[in-house]
Symmetry: C2
Subunit: 298 residues, 2 copies
């Protein structure tokens, strides 16, 4: 059997009791290690907690056929551990399809991920639109297709969760070209870089999907003991040092009600200014007021 | 300290190790018991597992001031357990605000909820729009404000998660009027009733937010050992007996890629028909094709 086990957000104890029991009975344990990281647990801590070795699975191992992972999974139990919930990334859907085609029974153990735990900023999850990913811009690659999605979300009043790029086990273009297996140190996008890229693309596209004054919430180390939130405008957060990774950002939509705003104010430096930013931003994309149809005078 | 602990979706073992450790050190334990239910664990099972009594907290206890729950929480540890993740419902944001105002430290232990575990149907969570709730229609109350939200989501190609009504500890209008504390048996909306209500409102509103042929996924007992998914059109699912609760429904948007469709086909009775329904439905709200601007002939 193949167990897909979500590890939750931060520590080794964020696994569920059911997930831990599954891992303990498995012959082999893999940890997906390229779409996210467990913030406060090392491979060694996990191995001590589970009482068995954990193999780090990089993108190549998972995306190139999964053969190693699925080997003998029809005869013995294998665990594939994923930070957050197992269905956070497309790749793992592919792993399930491959397993099923080989007649391997798959059991999923869910857990919290940024996609639902983001609710702890106080904004109702009901009012989030599509999620976007912000990648590190390079000199030659500054993709902005996410801009249209933010615009679509904000037109109908919805918040946008922005997932910030992480680079784990990446090769430099030179090392890649020369086939040298030398890897760059891991990089995690900061809140300020994300906000600078947002401002750059708004400047270029100019459709006012948002403005420098649009209110956001910066969410740092979600689910970890050092979790920290900060409310502010994009312009303000472009100057903000959020500390250690991981970070995410929420760009507010119009649908922010009083109780939600009250919650967000706790995270702002200047409550009056933030409240004012929210109220002014709510004027964007506001539906036209309802006007009664002319009375029929016949 | 007040611990807000998510219990996950189904069994007593879906709590995280960190959550269980927190519950074990608490002087009092409350279980929120009106926005959802834990599908395969009774109050008694939880009490046996935690080794202490669990108090069921109904809507009245939670929404009318939370005094009982927060009593002495500045001096001793109190746990408030929530099925799914603690930030699934507005009410609990209110509880956190009240606790903080009283100087009580709050710690949140996240867990899976339908809002992220719905990814196990194979559709990318990135492409979900706002979530809607479908309530039981009565003779005099057939609210349809959710219709506009489905329309907004589908216009930009997004899926809609539909949460189905549950009624726990409700009084009949007569018992309520007479002040008799007699409660109706719990009721959980079925997939077929939800689909009938969808069809009724489309008939009434007529803006083609969706059609009877729009493809959906019915998700039953998500996260439980008897979890079951079924892909089909709204019309087909209006006839479908999905068995025991809890149920949710996903109304597909246009953004369904080949790998996702392949996954959904596993849950359909007639794969060719479902594939055809998806492809025909994708024609709705399709953006106009890109036409190159006329060449400048000067």
């Amino acid at each position: 059997m193949l167990f897909l086990v979500g590890l939750g957000l931060s520590s080794h104890e964020d696994i569920t009791v059911r997930g831990l029991n599954a891992v303990k009975r498995c012959a082999r344990v893999y940890l997906e290690h390229y779409t996210s990281i467990l913030m406060t647990a090392s491979k060694e801590e996990l191995e001590g907690f589970y009482g068995k070795p954990v193999v780090l699975a990089d993108r190549e191992m998972v995306e190139s056929g999964c053969e190693e992972i699925l080997r003998d999974a029809d005869k013995e139990d294998v665990a594939f551990l994923v930070v957050g919930d197992p269905f956070g990334a497309t790749t793992h859907t592919d792993l399930v399809l491959r397993a099923k085609k080989q007649g391997i029974v798959v059991e999923v153990v869910h857990n919290a991920s940024v996609m639902n735990a983001v609710g702890s900023c106080g904004l109702q999850l009901y009012n989030f639109g599509q999620t976007i990913s912000m990648v590190f811009f390079t000199d030659s690659w500054r993709p902005d297709s996410w801009y249209d999605k933010v615009l679509e979300n904000r037109r109908i009043g919805l918040h946008t969760l922005v997932l910030l790029d992480i680079k784990v086990k990446e090769q430099s273009p030179e090392n890649l070209a020369r086939g040298r297996l030398i890897f760059e140190p891991p990089r995690y996008m900061s809140i300020s870089q994300c906000c600078e890229q947002l401002l750059e693309v708004e400047e270029k596209r100019g459709q006012q999907a948002y403005t420098p004054d649009t209110p956001c919430v910066a969410i740092s180390r979600l689910g970890a003991p050092t979790q920290h939130m900060k409310s502010g405008s994009i312009h303000e957060l472009a100057e903000y040092d959020a500390g250690e990774p991981l970070h995410s950002l929420v760009i507010l939509g119009r649908q922010c009600h009083e109780l939600e705003l009250e919650y967000l104010l706790e995270f702002s430096e200047d409550q009056e200014r933030f409240k004012d930013q929210v109220h002014r931003d709510q004027e964007f994309f506001k539906p036209a007021p309802w006007v009664p149809p002319p009375e029929d005078e016949d």
